[in-house]
């Protein structure tokens, strides 16, 4: 298993520009693939904290959440999920378990860091999720509101629809596709 030594290297030129990934550059099959992937995300929520409680509200009976209801509560095994939602603080104790969950997931796999603790490690001066995993979308707030959470998920959907690949891992100077 890859350990905590995962560090993000410099951004590769193939990763950065949005114009490179404009939807016209994809052929029909690729577009079909990315569309289906974006429409049926199967997220896995890791964490039992205030942000996770706010996330579970997205699948509950809330008038604010009218458009899309997420199925966070249906317990799917990690092996069939493709989006990892990290919430809560990250320290050296929990990081191997997060990496384990990440490696058991379907590929390509995307990562969302929810809340100030996971995104920046600010509140309790702990690690940020950047330090162990490549993160695609950051959602701020302590805890984030429902709107912010929905925006974060929409952002990820948009990225997938455009065909943007998940951020690769850099381990010891070698690039691994997620």
């Amino acid at each position: 298993m890859k350990t905590h030594e995962n560090r993000l290297g410099p951004r590769s030129p193939s990763w950065g520009g949005v114009s490179f990934y404009s939807i016209n550059s994809l052929n029909f099959l690729e577009r079909m693939k990315s569309w289906s992937r974006a429409e049926l995300l199967s997220p896995f929520v890791l964490g039992a904290n205030c942000c996770a409680r706010e996330l579970y509200r997205l699948s509950g009976p809330n008038p604010q959440v009218s458009s899309i209801r997420e199925n966070f509560l249906e317990s799917e095994p990690i092996e069939s999920c493709d989006v990892l939602i990290i919430s809560g603080i990250i320290n050296k104790q929990i990081s191997p378990y997060i990496l384990e969950a990440y490696e058991r997931m379907l590929s390509p796999r995307y990562v969302i860091a929810v809340g100030t603790c996971a995104a920046t490690g600010a509140v309790f001066e702990t690690m940020a999720s950047d330090e162990i995993l490549p993160v695609d979308v950051y959602v701020g707030g302590c805890p984030p509101t429902l709107d912010t959470l929905m925006n974060g998920l929409d952002l990820l959907r948009e990225r997938i629809r455009k065909g943007i690949k998940p951020r690769p891992q850099f381990i010891d100077g070698v690039t691994y596709e997620s």
Binding site: H4, L46, N49, R57, Q93
Partner: protein, 543 residues
Amino acid sequence: MSLRDELFKKFGTNFQSSFADKGTLTFPREYSFPLDSEETTLYQDFFFHLKDEYRFHMLIDICYEDVLGEGCLYYQFLNLEVYFCLQVTVPIGKSRYFPSLASLWKSAEVLEEDMMKHHHILQSEGRKTQQRVDLSLFKNEDKAPGIAPVPEYKMPLQPTESQRLRYWKRFGPHSSPFNGKMRVDLLISEEKVFDSQLVTGLYFRDFEKKCLSKDPNELIFFFERLCIKDSVFAPLLWIETIEQRFSISIPDKAKAIRMVWMELARVEGHLNFLWELTQELGFFVESSVFAELLEQVYHLFNIYSGKTQNFSLFTFGGMKKQNPIGWGTECLEVAKYLYKNIEDVEKEFNRNPRWMEVTKGFSMNAGTALDYGFTGPNLRACGVNFDTRKTQPTYFYDDVDFEVPLGIDGSTYDRFLVRLEELKQSLRIINQVLDHLPAGDVINKEHILYKGLYDQGADDLTYSLKEGVIPFREGSSFSSIEATEGQLGLFVRTDASKLKKVHVRSPSLIHSGAFSELIKGGELAGVFTAFQSLNLDPWEMDR
């Protein structure tokens, strides 16, 4: 002769007590001995004497403090017959070892272990303890702890048939009942569980040490993030300790509104518990009802503060702002709606044979529960009538009419029922308080901290508290509050100028100590339900 007088007579000047229900006792000289030695009987004799003769049946908390290499232990004991809290101070000098009290109080086992992990001190008696993450690994930056291996079962020389089939299996932290909370290793044979190990520490963030570098005003926001089940009790506890220190009185209206918020937080916590339990057991119709009721409570929070959690409401000397117009009537309407719906759901559960079957078993008797230091609904489910809202009423709890629901045998079903009934009682309290809401201001503007805040500018309060312009009163204090899950305690020691020690007494940590005894010999499916019914809060446990 009262207990206080008895203690005065026995210990003389070593015992000090300025309140009727609190006292401090310094460890008497005649019992002291070089603690590095293996001689532990005298030490334990003294505490056995306390337990046997003065009926301190509950060990609530243990705290260790290191001042310039000189260690000091603080034990908190509770006498339930006449509510009396005793703090025993034991100076242990430069010794890194101390005798264990686990043979006298079972709660000592988990408390001592927690303390050892935080301060790297050892016990003189080696014994089998639950596996936890070793904090010394934090010191070494290069090494990260990997995933701890699952323990191997050592078969006896002549095993029985069931012993031959036993094996350890890991559950969590990814799988469903322990999702994100903790990892639990179970010793299983043919769907029966014989032993368990909790692997906690996944959310360790060094809360208590980081408190010392913060300002008292900042700490209100810091304490809101201590527990995840509610964000009312912990900051309120911190504010109450500071108010006691500076002897700040708060206006009647602020008291009433604080009461309403405490009960709302209890309603939220219990609804969350019920939602989680029904979700876990597959009662999706009932769980959707609870989710809808939770949304009603969140709606109230949203109107008041614009947030559903971590709302900053309280300040030293009262509340931050007046109630929004119409919030009281909204609150009454929601309370009425909740009460009606909960009664309906209760009827469903009473008739449901499936529910009774799923939640039966895993009982605990009252004596064991007291020995383990249980508090809150988990203790009341065992049949012990102990609620600090009744024994030590603060605010207007004396004038309010409510009942303390009790269980019979402390089974999973009882733990569920007690919480359901408590929820209704909380709604009753909210109704009564809001009906007789006093008029006036919600903040006391006369006290010293407020003047420091507004006369000298906003930054000067923290400055003056930090630099000792407004001096702290020297000394230590232990205060507690009846939170959703039990007694949340806070030990604070202050110098003349600043905070020296903050220690949190977490009810979840103490409840987790009884887990392995509770589930012994139970069915595997029931173990997950029993775990849910204890309602452990990992953020509060690991701190």
